[in-house]
């Protein structure tokens, strides 16, 4: 049974003057999938993701996100996606509860829903008692989990995670991926970019971008077989070595 496709991209391209940042990439993401978007620095990952999030208009090609066209239905896309930035996108000088309320509010959740969500989030994250704590006082692992939960507070169809585990120790990363699996189990599609190749192995499928193109797209297991490597690390090294572009 063919699964519903929540992201489709066909020859998606982004040019900045003469520089082709994203070069005719074509791929799909299925509902509920954990899709890893890999690539070296400067390969075009962030640019591609920005186009899918509605932050940047493509130069050419087509794409739909949650069924909506990236050119014409930008506003509808924004209502149906969540986003977590590299810097965790939390307000350090606000409390946990104030952060939750703010983001829930701008995603248009109604007052009573916000109250419910806030309570359940605090419970799920085991942050009872710390509601009034300023985010800046929280340990990094807590911030990370909070940021993720906030990114999906409105139960979007897809959540985009931009290098969400940067600077975090391996144990905390494992716990974080636990949250990701849970969300995926609830039907939320996860689109994650990462540098950590061991995390690539947690994904259902990955794509590897090199010089703006997608040079590989398959499940980690298949890729490791194809490139005769025991880890995604090896796969990545083989692909990235061919890169012409220097990292940023």
């Amino acid at each position: 049974m063919a699964k519903e496709k929540v992201i489709t991209a066909k020859e998606l391209t982004k040019k900045f003057g003469d520089f082709v940042a994203v070069d005719k990439i074509t791929f799909d993401v299925e509902k509920g999938e954990i899709f890893g978007f890999l690539g070296a620095n400067g390969a075009g990952k962030t640019t591609a993701m920005r186009m899918l999030c509605g932050l940047s208009l493509p130069s050419s090609g087509q794409a739909t996100v949650a069924g909506f066209d990236v050119y014409k239905e930008n506003e509808k896309i924004k209502k149906n996606i969540g986003y977590m930035s590299q810097k965790f996108s939390l307000y350090e000088d606000l409390t946990i509860v104030e952060n939750i309320r703010f983001y829930a509010g701008i995603y248009g959740l109604k007052d009573d829903k916000i109250k419910d969500k806030t309570a359940s989030l605090i419970k799920e994250l085991h942050m009872e008692g710390s509601e009034k704590a300023l985010v800046r006082s929280l340990p990094l692992g807590w911030k990370q989990k909070l940021a993720f939960s906030i990114a999906i507070v409105h139960e979007p169809a897809i959540v985009f995670l931009d290098e969400p585990t940067g600077g975090v120790d391996p144990i905390t990363r494992r716990e974080f991926w636990g949250l990701i699996y849970e969300a995926s189990g609830r039907g939320i599609t996860i689109f994650v970019t990462t540098h950590y190749m061991d995390e690539a192995e947690y994904c259902n499928r990955v794509s590897v971008m090199v010089d703006g193109r997608i040079d590989a797209l398959d499940s980690p297991a298949n890729l490791m077989k194809q490139y005769d490597s025991k880890s995604m690390d090896g796969v990545f090294l083989q692909l990235a070595r061919k890169a012409v572009r220097k990292g940023d």
Partner: protein, 368 residues
């Protein structure tokens, strides 16, 4: 020793590579000296004045000509009634009026004494003082030439009347200036930091991805600052009236309305800077350079704009604070109504619309 020298070299490289700070260190003093030397002068020159000559005799015409010829004065027009004088002052066209009574020369020849009235716009007390002093000294010179080789000396006395601010209180010109400065500083500096801070923190991206429309983001960001500014204005006005004894002669409502307008103008400027700046430091620097300093120098409250070289006068037109300062002075000190400030109000409205338009457009462009 080598260690020491290497460290010095590193510090030198830091300064040299930080272009912005280099500009401040080297160019600013140069520009300041030039500005202060040539342009910013308290000395009043070519001040426009009016003559109400009720005698039109040889003596009055000579005195009038001498005043007009002086480098301190430039004749704006001859008026023919006291009402005329009042209107011309209200329009802000002149800073001084010279009034000759009827039969001036006749009185002088027959009673050896005559009087000239000098009426000055004292909403700027320093300038008013200087102008009346210059005029008086010119009249005294004329008196001296009359008195050469004469048995009975002639005496021409001046009676001075200071309009709007009879006690020549410095606070009258100082308070409107401070209002402009404070509003500009708070609004523009704070708003510019507010938006850039989000960019620096990384939260801006998430907000941009959310369903919140860009122009709503901008407006939502400026509203708290609007409130803070209103509080500031209230404080300044209360202190001015009750502590400094500066009255609010005109309509309080109009004053508050214009202040709200100026606040919005300053906020729009802040947003414009915010859009362009990448770091908070840049935003702060840009705010200082393009907002605080010009307001201080070109608004007219420290240095009269009419006395600056023409190119600088043109620049001062672009500074919103200049127009707000005129408006506040007119309403607060001169007690004038909207019909006298509509032109300046329109200019501020125009500036706000343009600034907001550019800001919102730029905000969207960054998303494309």
């Amino acid at each position: 020793m080598k260690q020491f020298l290497i460290f010095i070299k590193k510090e030198w490289l830091h300064i040299w590579r930080d272009r912005r700070t280099l500009v401040i260190l080297i160019w600013m003093p140069v520009i300041q000296i030039l500005l202060y030397g040539f342009a910013l002068t308290n000395e009043v020159k070519n001040s426009k004045f009016a003559i109400f000559d009720q005698s039109r005799d040889e003596a009055t015409k000579t005195i009038s000509a001498e005043i007009a010829a002086s480098r301190y004065f430039s004749l704006w027009k001859n008026v023919y009634s006291y009402d005329d004088i009042g209107a011309t002052f209200r329009q802000g066209k002149i800073r001084l009026a010279v009034v000759f009574p009827r039969n001036f020369r006749y009185d002088l020849l027959h009673t050896n004494h005559a009087q000239i009235q000098l009426i000055a716009d004292a909403s700027d007390p320093n300038t008013a003082n200087m102008l009346t002093n210059y005029a008086t000294s010119i009249i005294n010179d004329y008196q001296a030439t009359l008195n050469r080789d004469v048995a009975m000396p002639y005496s021409i006395t001046t009676q001075t009347r200071m309009l709007y601010n009879p006690e020549l209180k410095g606070a009258y010109s100082f308070v409107p200036g401070v209002m402009a400065l404070v509003l500009m500083l708070v609004c523009a500096m704070m708003t510019s930091i507010a938006i850039v801070k989000e960019k620096e923190m990384g939260t801006m991206e998430v907000i941009l991805v959310s369903p919140m429309k860009p122009f709503k983001i901008i407006i939502a960001k400026t509203i708290p600052y609007l409130f803070v500014s209103m509080l500031n204005i209230a404080c300044i006005l209360l202190l001015s009236v009750f502590v400094l004894d500066v009255p609010i002669v005109g309509s309080l409502c109009l004053l508050i309305g214009e202040s709200v307008l100026f606040t919005v103008t300053a906020l729009s400027l802040g947003i414009l800077i915010s859009n362009g700046a990448k770091t908070q430091r840049t935003a702060q620097f840009a705010s200082m350079m393009s907002l605080f300093l010009p307001t201080l120098l070109f608004s007219g409250f420290l240095f009269p704009v009419e006395n600056m070289p023409w190119p600088l006068q043109v620049i001062s037109n672009v500074v919103p604070a200049k127009w707000y300062y005129i408006i506040v002075k007119n309403i607060m000190i001169k007690g004038l109504g909207f019909s006298y400030v509509w032109k300046e109000t329109l200019i501020l409205v125009g500036m706000t619309v343009v600034l907001l338009g550019i800001s919102i457009k730029n905000f969207k462009i960054r998303l494309a």
